[in-house]
Symmetry: C2
Subunit: 118 residues, 2 copies
DNA sequence: TGATTATATCTAAATATTATCATATGTCAA
DNA sequence: TTGACATATGATAATATTTAGATATAATCA
């Protein structure tokens, strides 16, 4: 099938999309937004005080998460409610958490070994 | 314990570290480097032709992965070998892959529904 | 020792991201 | 319709990232 000839282009494109998703996750404020959305859909008016920060700034970050396909929004009267599209995103965040913890533990072990030598 | 008073600072700091790890993953070239490292440790001289790009640029991206605690390097004679520290990072990449595929499928379904209406 | 090789670092220009402020949009209620 | 409210968008300045080229470092070999 002719489509296979385009595999390298498709792969490149997929790498780019993946990088864009990671990029959307690469900001403390956006991670905090997702932390809030972990317990379910939520109104922007609740997200703003939770994460702390300017209304327009939070709105910007929500737009970044939206464009990356991580969350979707829905208007309910005056309010806008956001929710995570695919909860697999939380698995990712949890794995990163574990990675960081074991990294810190490794650091601690090395530090202890160094201290004992003196 | 007094340490609990610092929880919010610690949380903030952890969010920042997490964001930094995601940031390290947020580039097609770095994802491609990790793709190469999935099969095990690898020399820079193999990574460069695999990912394609300037030597200095690849070296820079390797440094970013190193600083984020995702890979480590070891000198072997003239060569430098890199390897992934914690293979959980691949689980993350695989989950993102699945998310993207199901997102694309959802898009396709919606598109089909729209087409049928006309 | 000096040349060669592999990789890292520095520099600068181009580009992207972030935060803030100002303004626009859309919804409701009087 | 007008005004108030919740949220989004646009413009801008500050900052960070990316890339390529030039140079530096460190290991090996003649």
């Amino acid at each position: 099938m002719i489509i296979f000839r385009y595999n390298h282009i498709v792969n490149k494109e997929i790498l780019k999309i993946k990088a864009e998703v990671f990029n959307a996750l690469a900001h403390p404020l956006r991670l905090k937004i997702l932390e809030k959305l972990r317990s379910g859909a939520c109104c922007v008016c609740k997200i703003i005080p939770y994460v702390g920060g300017e209304q327009s700034n939070v709105s910007h970050h929500l737009a970044i998460l939206r464009k990356a396909g991580i969350v979707r929004s829905e208007k309910k009267g005056l309010e806008v409610w956001y929710e995570v599209i695919d909860s697999k995103i939380f698995e990712i965040i949890d794995i990163i958490d574990k990675c960081i913890v074991s990294n810190l533990q490794r650091g601690k072990t090395i530090l202890n070994a160094l201290i004992k030598r003196h």
